[in-house]
């Protein structure tokens, strides 16, 4: 072949001519990898029931995505794995005892209404998995709040529920139990240690920013510590709030969702702060024992506003906020 390339067509694309390894697909696969420890924990604690819910959610999420994109005459992008992530996250915030068809409805709502109707991945305003969960809670409140104990499957309440009922500290599951996940609750949210393992991986890979979970958890800790001090409950009280409910799952895997959280570092701090405040408000003053889901959805709503007021100052320009 000649050097002047008369017969070899060269590519003349715009610079840069070098690209990093990360793509949306590889990032989604990393998120799935990060969720595996929590998945194993949920299978261990809740057994076949958990497997049934997870499988239903993931399969229905995939099918809904393909179906919706076909009907809307869009390119089918299910191979980017984002639907699998949504399905898995939704399953993680459902009780293991939920009938399979309810889980299926949740997954359909999450993908079709939560994601595709807004224009697909990148255009959705709300975290799709949380949209699915919110619709299920509103539609079948009893099924969505029937909990069983791990391993033996006896009907129970969640630690947060017990706390709300006003049970004394001695009657509640211990902090150690909470850390390992040996308590009642949604199937993927109970085992803090497994979730943290996945979170560390995502932080290491740079897929999530530490600011969101740190400001989220920090705010919850601070506010509940103040409330705890008034109750005379001490350090135990805020730690209990950190480890119960869907807080760890929400703070590391849902509030950090790229699409529905703010773009800038400062925005991420504000986002976490707002989530933390709303979560404590709902837990202590609201009708539900848990507030992670709604607080993130509410903060999703103000994300464009946060973006607008946290624009970075251009290099060599004057600060607009100063």
């Amino acid at each position: 072949m000649g050097i002047d390339n008369q017969d070899n067509l060269l590519i003349v694309s715009s610079s840069p001519h070098l690209h990093g390894e990360n793509t949306v697909s590889t990032a989604m696969r990393d998120v799935l990898l990060a969720l595996i420890p929590a998945l194993i924990a949920s299978l261990y604690f809740f057994g076949l029931a958990a497997a049934k819910v997870v499988l239903t959610c993931v399969l229905v999420a995939i099918l809904s995505e393909v179906l919706a994109q076909k009907i809307m005459k869009r390119e089918v992008t299910v191979d980017d794995s984002s639907a699998v992530v949504t399905g898995l996250l939704l399953a993680f915030c459902l009780p293991a005892t939920i009938p399979w068809w309810m889980a299926a409805v949740g997954a359909m709502v999450a993908i079709i209404i939560g994601k595709q109707m807004f224009g697909g991945l990148g255009n959705n305003i709300f975290n799709p998995a949380l949209v699915g969960r919110a619709v299920l809670v509103a539609s079948w409140p009893v099924a969505m709040t029937s909990w069983v104990t791990p391993l033996d499957g006896v009907t129970t309440a969640t630690p947060l529920g017990m706390l709300k009922q006003g049970l004394a500290a001695e009657q509640l599951p211990s902090l150690g139990q909470l850390f390992l996940g040996n308590v009642g609750g949604s199937l993927g949210e109970t085992c803090a240690v497994a979730l943290l393992l996945g979170a560390i991986y995502l932080l290491y890979k740079g897929h999530i920013d530490w600011r969101t979970p740190v400001s989220y958890l920090g705010t919850v800790f601070l506010l509940t510590a103040i409330v705890g001090a008034f109750k005379g409950a001490g350090l135990w009280y805020p730690l209990y709030h950190l480890l119960t409910g869907g807080l760890i799952l929400g703070a590391f895997f849902m509030a950090t969702d790229w699409v529905t959280s703010p773009l800038t570092k400062k925005g991420k701090l504000i986002f976490g702060l707002g989530c933390g405040f709303l979560t404590v408000l709902i837990r202590l003053q609201g009708g539900y024992p848990e507030g992670v889901c709604y607080s993130i959805l509410l903060m999703n709503m103000v994300t464009p506003l946060i973006d607008r007021y946290t624009k970075p100052r251009v290099f060599g320009g004057v600060s607009k906020n100063a």
């Binding site: 610079s15 840069p16 070098l18 990093g20 773009l263 800038t264 624009k311 100052r313 251009v314 290099f315």
Partner: protein, 451 residues
């Protein structure tokens, strides 16, 4: 080691192993050289010679009108055989003076050494630099004398020599620093004198420890010049970021380095200036790195301006196989050209050849709002926001979001997981804004003329 840097930016693979250890070798002198009349920023030159004229090496063969321009000199001795439109590394067709080399290597009479270079005044030095056709050799090719000219109300207190070379594959400046450290420092001293400046800084990334050590030794006794080691980060070589890393001064939006009292030059430019001031030699050759995974024998060449890429590629043994891209410049900011039949010009720092890749091209996803482009942007812009506006043709809004500040370094594209060609959209927006501005100016001018 005391190192500094700037905020934002990315870490890139260097790919410099292939050539960083290879000494600069003179490339063979071609039978014909192609000298475009526009090799710099500013007014293009007009030929001073006609077809059939005999020219000598170093003879001025084209010059432009006005102040912001740089004359062009014959890089070989021989006969002008054509003045015609040829492909230019910039992508368009530009008038070229084609000289057939007679192999005599005869110097023009105008090329005379200055016997007492130490006695030259600042103005004389600046004039020699202008007459030698010296432009910034880092790539932008901005005429050097324009940077040095005194500006009312602005005073430079610091000259920075840019030896960062943050583009992957390119090692031309690295080799120059290792092989011609003394000449670089000599050039810097003339620049200091030509600008009445007190302080000179030679800035080098930490990944070139040999160059840092050597230059430190050369300037050890000079209290006006220091060597500044910088962290390895892209785009450290960007003028604004280099100034910030060395002096913590921020060039204002739309401003020039002189606004913060700094003038930046490439290390190669300093060598060219030393040669012009001492020996009277105009800019007729430069160091070019020819590298990439598509070239058989990567090398650092000393090349006569006007040598065709294809000549150098042949000298390096040709391609390794089927190739995909020929890039004039570096991987991050260079231009992919469509032919190897284009000449090396004053601003050509490197040629990178990429071979055909087997991996399928990833598709462009929707923006997933990960914010990585914002973290990477060294100008603290929001590339994703700019692109969303640009996609809808909202040019004015992109201007409000400082799109004109973008230096097109490509950091955002490198990190984007959605594989969006952000820089391409940003260029489109910048072009639309500049066209609108030019139209507004023309309109104002014509209306002013009627009155």
């Amino acid at each position: 080691m005391n190192t500094s840097t700037f905020k934002g930016g990315i870490h890139l693979p260097g790919y410099k192993e292939g050539t960083e250890g290879l000494p600069i070798v003179p490339a063979s002198i071609p039978d014909k050289v192609y000298l475009p009349i526009a090799q710099h920023i500013g007014a293009p030159c007009l030929p001073l010679v006609e077809v059939g004229d005999e020219v000598k090496k170093g003879q001025k063969i084209a010059a432009g009108k006005g102040f912001v321009t740089a004359p062009i000199h014959a890089s070989v001795s021989g006969r002008v055989v054509a003045i015609e439109k040829k492909q230019h590394p910039g992508g368009n067709f530009v008038n070229c003076i084609v000289i057939e080399n007679n192999g005599q290597e005869e110097w023009a009479d105008t090329v005379k050494p200055h016997l007492q270079p130490g006695d030259l005044s600042a103005e004389e030095i600046r004039n020699i630099i202008f007459e030698a056709g010296i432009v910034g050799l880092g790539g932008a090719a901005f005429p050097a004398h324009v940077k040095y000219a005194p500006v009312e109300g602005k005073k430079a207190d610091c000259i920075i020599l840019n030896g960062v070379e943050c583009e992957p594959y390119i090692t031309a400046d690295h080799r120059l620093m290792v092989e011609k450290a003394e000449r670089i420092v000599a050039g810097l001293r003339y620049i200091l004198k030509g600008t009445n400046c007190e302080q000179g800084i030679i800035a080098i990334e930490e990944n070139k420890p040999d160059a840092i050590a050597l230059l430190k030794k050369v300037v050890a006794a000079d209290k006006h010049i220091r060597v500044q080691a910088l962290q390895v980060k892209y785009p450290q070589g960007s003028e604004k970021h280099l100034i910030y890393a060395c002096t913590q001064r921020e060039v204002p939006v739309g401003g020039l380095p002189l606004d913060v009292g700094v003038i930046v030059n490439n290390v190669g430019t300093a060598v060219a200036i030393a040669d012009a001031v001492e020996f009277g030699i105009p800019l007729i050759e430069r160091v070019v790195t020819l590298s990439g995974n598509g070239i058989k024998n990567p090398a650092n060449y000393l090349v006569r301006i006007g040598t065709l890429f294809s000549h150098l590629i042949a000298e390096s043994g040709g391609y390794t196989g089927e190739i995909e891209k020929i890039i004039a410049g570096g991987l991050m900011m260079g231009k992919a050209v469509y032919t190897a039949n284009i000449p090396v010009i004053k601003g050509s720092s490197g040629i990178v050849i990429l071979k055909k890749t087997e991996s399928k091209k990833e598709r462009e996803y929707n923006c997933v709002r990960c914010g990585k482009c914002i973290e990477a942007c060294p100008l603290f812009l929001e590339p994703t926001t700019l692109v969303k506006l640009a996609k809808r043709g909202l040019w004015e809004e992109t201007a409000q979001n400082n799109v004109l500040s973008c230096i097109e370094c490509g950091s955002c594209v490198y990190v984007c997981p959605a594989q969006i060609p952000l820089v391409q959209y940003i260029r489109r927006a910048k072009q639309a804004i500049n066209v609108a501005k030019a139209k507004a100016r023309a309109k104002a001018k014509s209306e002013g003329g009627k009155e």
